[in-house]
């Protein structure tokens, strides 16, 4: 009973906050709602027994991605009401297209049937449940053996994304004096400071 209760709480809040993400007037609020919906999704994962994925969701999406999102949105100076008015010009077309797509999807899913052995085939790749098997063990076993190829390729994709971000944004600005700590440490008082005994009233030449 408690589980059902939590399920409904999580899913209701998830759906509502997801709707608020796209309808909130203030973009910062929208991002905050997005975070809330991430949290509820993580809660649903915990209820499924996928605790590792839940934590990764929070760490990666809430802890890192959404922070940067919020960062950017807070610094943006865009008149969102004007943007919205622009978008509302096409609201009718959008609504019709969306409605048709939704109808089609509903039609597809109402007639949904899977292949007879689909479940068995999908279960083939999963490790067998043994006593004390944790999420981390099971996922690690799968990810680093059977799917090692995909794992490596995703690494390459991320590398490319990094190269791209750096290529498109890094500019070397001339005239910036960077701190070079070794230079600072190498500086020797004897080379740069001159101590002179000045006669009274004579001044330095």
């Amino acid at each position: 009973m408690i589980e059902a209760l939590f399920f409904y709480v999580f899913s209701t809040v998830l759906v509502l906050s997801a709707m608020m993400v796209i309808s909130a007037k203030n973009p910062v609020h929208a991002v905050l709602y997005l975070i809330l919906s991430f949290f509820n999704a993580a809660g649903l994962f915990v209820m499924l027994g996928a605790e590792l994925i839940a934590m990764i969701l929070v760490i990666v999406y809430v802890g890192a991605v959404a922070v940067l999102f919020l960062f950017v949105v807070m610094m943006l100076d865009i008149d969102f009401t004007r943007l919205r008015d622009e978008a509302q010009k096409h609201a009718m077309v959008g609504a019709i297209t969306g409605g048709v797509l939704l109808g089609e999807l509903a039609w597809v899913y109402s007639q949904w049937m899977g292949a007879r052995d689909a479940l068995a085939r999908a279960a083939q790749t999963a490790p067998q449940a043994t006593k004390g098997l944790t999420n981390a063990h099971a996922l690690g076993q799968l990810l680093y053996t059977h799917y090692a190829y995909l794992f490596q390729v995703s690494g390459l994709i991320l590398l490319v994304a990094m190269i791209g971000a750096i290529t498109l944004t890094l500019r070397s600005r001339p005239g910036v004096r960077k701190q070079v700590i070794s230079h600072q440490l190498d500086r020797n008082p004897a080379d740069v400071v001159k101590i002179e005994k000045i006669e009274t009233g004579a001044g330095v030449s």
């Binding site: 052995d117 689909a118 995909l150 590398l159 190269i163």
Partner: protein
């Protein structure tokens, strides 16, 4: 713990080598003080050629590895050699241009290497997930390359447009994949084919149908088939020309290979169902490619529409869904690649008073001022239009033969008609070059490499009729392994 058995790495040696080379070159580029574009691009060309040799050397029929996610067969070797060749040539073509336009950064060849790697993975994909990974690895560098000239608004716009639409198409593709997985419980091509075995005569469930159509939409975006072509003209026009050359020459070949593998592999039993979709895409692309290019003055935009049209012809070869069809597609892809290499080498040479020009009417009277250049371009344009006895004609001939053999007469008729329409704008370029009043002359060519590429391209288009056997045989062998 169960003992972990390492997968066989040998089928993937070319890919592993290319990945390592790309990373080494990246580190070299980062650590050398002045950004040493020249040597990096030379090394990348060398490594692409080396990988190509390894691909040919390692040629074996039908091996899978990495738990069946990666397949190497004659088809993949053929396509990989094409892709590697195209990538190497387009890096070589870019050198001078990059220096002039100040996009001479070492990341440029490195990104092309990564993109090529993605294409190779795509060609060898034997699993939906591997397909998606290869596709992303292929397209991510392309987005960056399109926006490479970051001081130019057009280039940035091209990159952004390409990125947003590309992300959308990836989303559509993934949604289709998820539907297919939901139906079958597997992502492997072999498993999918087994699950779809019973569909050979109608009765495909709606979910599978939707998944398949969405998957094809995603791939049609990558080869810019109508109605998923909208990005092509803008991206071609906005990107730096050397990047556009790469876009036109290589990625489409890889995407075409992927499409051929998927349609004949897992969906091999559903020909009747996907055939209508492909016919629609093909007819729309051929017609739009022919009609929309007529109004273009910008030569890059014109070539963009022309590439849309060419993809339409290639797709109609796929509609035949048999070995001759696939063979025709392979031959067509190879010829298309050679033609666009030549055409873009020409565009890269178009400059006046040291500034790039892109208008077709800048070429007025080129035959008087630069006779060799005009002659080379004329041959390429004739070939693109499909005038016998040039290679482009034979490419189309094989395609239409296959289409007629498959009794798709309407498709063949539309194809021929649209190629007649398309001939108008190809011939217009020739007319401008040969019969229009002499304009201010274009600069003399100092880039021998580009000249060489264009000359070799037009020469091979002319001589194809004399020695067609190597390409035809290779394509036949490749098509045989795919449809076994």
């Amino acid at each position: 713990m169960t003992e972990f058995i390492a997968p066989a790495f040998s089928p993937a040696y070319p890919e592993i080598f290319l990945a390592i080379m790309a990373m080494i070159l990246l580190m070299l580029g980062v650590s050398t003080d002045k950004e040493d574009y020249r040597s990096i691009s030379r090394f990348s060309i060398l490594s692409l050629i080396a990988v190509g040799m390894v691909v040919i050397r390692l040629y074996e029929g039908g091996v899978t590895t990495f738990g069946g996610m990666f397949v190497v067969d004659g088809f993949s070797s053929f396509m990989k050699v094409l892709v590697l060749f195209g990538a190497a040539v387009s890096i070589g073509m870019a050198t001078r241009y990059a220096r002039r336009e100040r996009i001479m950064r070492f990341e440029y060849p490195v990104l092309i290497l990564f993109s090529t790697l993605g294409m190779m993975l795509m060609i060898s994909a034997n699993d939906l997930m591997a397909l998606y990974m290869g596709l992303e690895l292929q397209s991510l560098p392309l987005y960056v390359l399109a926006a490479m000239q970051r001081d130019s608004v057009r280039s940035t716009e091209a990159g952004l447009k390409y990125f947003i639409l590309g992300a959308l198409s990836s989303g559509i593709l993934l949604y289709g994949m998820s539907l297919l997985y939901g139906y079958t419980g597997t992502t492997q091509f072999a498993g999918l084919a087994a699950a779809f075995e019973s569909f050979s005569h109608g009765g495909v469930p709606l979910g599978v149908m939707t998944g398949m159509v969405l998957l094809m939409c995603g791939m049609a975006f990558k080869i810019s088939a109508v109605p998923f072509h909208m990005w092509t003209p803008d991206v071609y026009e906005g990107s730096p020309t050397s990047v556009t050359a790469f876009f036109a020459i290589v990625p489409k070949i890889a995407a075409l290979a992927l499409m051929a593998r998927i349609l004949t592999g897992p969906f091999g039993n559903m020909v009747l169902h996907w055939q209508q979709v492909i016919i629609l895409l093909s007819v729309a692309s051929m017609v739009l490619g022919a009609v929309a290019a007529i109004g273009q003055r910008n030569i890059k935009r014109m070539l963009a529409y022309s590439s849309i049209g060419h993809m339409g012809y290639a797709l109609s070869g796929l509609c035949a869904a048999n070995q001759t069809g696939v063979q025709a597609v392979l031959v067509y892809a190879a010829i298309y690649m050679v033609m666009s290499m030549g055409a873009f080498a020409f565009v890269l040479m178009m400059k006046r008073k040291d500034r790039m020009v892109e208008d077709i009417y800048d070429l007025s009277g080129l035959s008087k001022t630069q006779p060799m250049m005009a002659l080379g371009m004329a041959v390429i344009m004739f070939s693109m239009a499909g005038i016998p006895p040039l290679a482009g004609f034979f490419g189309k001939l094989y395609i239409f033969q296959a289409v007629v053999n498959a009794q798709l007469y309407m498709l063949a008729v539309i194809g021929v008609l649209s190629s007649v329409v398309a001939a108008y704008y190809y011939l217009r370029v020739i007319k401008v070059m040969y019969f229009d009043a002499e304009d201010e002359a274009l600069d003399a060519q100092e880039d021998r490499g580009l000249n060489l590429v264009m000359m070799l391209s037009s020469l091979s288009l002319v001589t194809f009729i004399l020695v067609p056997a190597p390409l035809i045989t290779a394509a036949r062998l490749a098509a045989e392994t795919l449809l076994r």
